[in-house]
Amino acid sequence: MSIVIDIAAQFTGKKAFAQAENAADKLGRSVKHALIGVGVTAFAKSAISAFAAQEKQLALFGNSLRAIGFGFATSDSLAFLNSLKLQFGTLDNELIPAYEQLLTTTRSLAAAQNLTNVALDIAARQGVSVTEAADALSKAYLGNTKNIGSLRLGISKATLDSKDFAKILKEVTGITKGSAAAAADTFSNKLARLKVATDAAKVSIGAGLVGALMEISNSTSIDQLQTKIINFGESAAVQLGNIGRLISDNIVLIKSFAIILAAAFTVNKIASFIIALQAIVKTVTQLRNALIASAIARNFLFSPLGAAVMTAGIFAAIGLAIKGVDALSDSATKAKNNMSSLFDDGSDRGNAARAADRAAAKEAELAKLAKANYAAQLKLLKAQTKAQQDAAKLKKYNAIFDMDQIQIMAALQGKVSDDEKLRLSLQLALLQDNASEAQKLGTQLAISQLKTTNLAQAIANIPKALNPFEGWGNEIDNLLAKMIAMYKLLNTPIVMNPTAPTAATNENKYRQIAADLTVANVATGMLPYGTATGLAASSARLQAQSDAYFAANPNIDPRTGVVYNINVNGATQGLLDELRNGLINSSASGSFSSINSPAG
């Protein structure tokens, strides 16, 4: 014993399942065997024979019943026996003679059926046939108890000696009752019942077969039909043999066909598939020729009965295959034409494979060359870089003896401005062919120059300082003119006769004010006919009061509330007119004195 701990396992199916599958396979093979070839003949013979035997037995049974005056009860008796047969699995060849004997003895259908049941119980209990049990019961019914005693049912000797069938039957029934039913539930009896059902089916099939075959074959009797069917079976067996021989003869071709097919579907290269397709076409064509030459010709010789169907099926399949092969051939030809530009020789798969290998080798070689080229270029670049670095170093040391550079270096060491320093450095860089430094210094110098230039321009563009008193002359003059005019106006006595506004106008104005204010108030969320209208009416009323007040008091400034008291004594409208005319004349004359005159 060893201890095993499974880490990873796979379910591969139970042994019992495998056994069941094997059994199913065997059963399938048996059924197949029963239905094809010799099995067909055997089954047909068996079914027809069973039908014939049963027909004969039933005919004899009917005759027997008629002989004893129970011809009318034939169908009822058969129905009873059929039910017993299916219930207890007893075959007709036992049950019918037993029933027949009991009915002959008792001359009573009820007694015969009852005793048949007892006979079945005895047979089941003692393991004897129903016929034997029925025979013993029949003899006992007639007073001969020897046989029933020899069955060793355990009937008392006194009962047997009394020869009283009622007593004997009572004792026998007490001993054996239920035995048949109990036995019917056993496995073997169930099998027997199945066999009964199978036989019944076989008989039915036989009856149907006989009817159908007699119709087809124009047979006049069963014997004639049987002969024809046996001949059919033998013929079918011969044809099956022919097909087997055909396969055997062409097995090499079939095998190669299968191999090529497998290769075509497993290889992933399209090119190989197309080439394999051509090989398939070639092989199938050979196979087709072989089929046509040998097998098909022989299949034509089949006998018309039954075998013709098989022949037609074979031909249909072959026809489809031929069509498929032709279509395949066309496709393969087209594919080959398309491929001709890709491969030198597409005649077989080997050439294609070699071509593919050559292409791969060439590709590898090209890749190798490209790699080598890249390495060489890289090497050359590195050498050039090194040479440039060396040249720069040499130039640097040569620069020590360059007078221009010496002067520049000397200038740089002196006191120079930043801008000059930049210029010197740039000049030095240019002399030394230092591009990066020259670019850097040049940029810095340009920025510096730009800065300087912009500053000068900005200074030049500064606007002149603005005169804060510029434009004041006119304003002051205007102001002074207004002050003078006011002064003059103030010195003129004026009588105010304001014209009162019409009531209708004022009313319209204040209504409008009230309406506008109502709208404004409503817009602020007030109720239209409540707060908003009331507030607007109050405002309009206040406005009206205010207007009236300021209209009555024109010397009060309505904005500031300042009171202007202007006293004009004796002023009349004529005076006002005179004053206005004087002012106009003075202005027209342009006399300064008139302007500054307190009177005018």
């Binding site: 014993m1 060893s2 201890i3 499974d6 990873a8 379910f11």
Partner: protein, 213 residues
């Protein structure tokens, strides 16, 4: 239940046929994953016999009928018998075929591993008078022989794994089951990860083959 890996047998066959390197890699990784359990299990094997006189017998190794007697303890043999294997076993009665497994081969190792599972205090004692062919009872002169035998082995540990055929007390032991329980499933996870990774690699390899052909 052990972990059921559908298609594992097919994968192994495919690896063997088409990717031997990957097959070797899988074996190496499984060895690494399960080797720890094996080493740990071996470390729990007592150097000396847990019972005095279990390792020594004066008379023949076979009885009068020529049958093997009760196996003697040999620690080296027990250690050697604890192995990891990747050779698929026969399908068990539930239809599972173990592909990767750890096995305790030696008889004495199996005894040390499992003694006391069914009867923690030993088998019922009947003595020498009982039926000699009845192996479900103790025939020893000492009524406490079974209990003493089991007590000498020490504690039996519940392994945190299940078999396809057995479970519960049948998953107890002192060597492999103990090591497995203490490992906490890490080895199992590593083994399954190795299978998964190799499968993925194999699929990629197939893919590249398709493309490059």
């Amino acid at each position: 239940m052990p972990t059921e890996v559908k298609g594992l047998i097919e994968l192994k066959k495919a690896l063997k046929d088409y990717a031997p390197n990957l097959a070797a890699q899988l074996d190496d990784q499984m060895g690494l994953a399960l080797g720890g359990i094996v080493k740990k299990s071996q470390s729990y094997v007592p150097n000396e016999s847990p019972l005095t006189n279990w390792s020594y017998r004066k008379r023949s190794e076979k009885n009068a009928e020529g049958q093997r007697k009760f196996p003697l303890y040999n620690s080296a043999r027990v250690v050697k018998g604890i192995q990891y294997s990747s050779t698929p076993r026969k399908t068990n009665r539930r239809g599972f075929k173990a592909v990767y497994y750890i096995i305790n081969k030696s008889a004495e190792g199996a005894i040390y591993e499992t003694a006391g599972r069914k009867n923690p205090n030993g088998q019922p004692w009947v003595g020498a008078k009982g039926d000699p062919n009845d192996h479900g009872v103790s025939h020893s002169n000492n009524p406490n022989a079974g209990a003493q035998f089991i007590q000498a082995f020490g504690q039996i540990y519940q392994g945190n794994l299940e078999s396809s055929t057995k479970r519960g007390r049948y998953m107890k032991g002192r060597l492999i089951f103990r090591a497995w329980a203490e490992d906490g499933g890490k080895a199992n996870a590593a083994a399954l990860t190795a299978i998964y990774n190799v499968n993925e690699l194999f699929k990629k390899k197939q893919y590249f083959r398709k493309v490059t052909l």
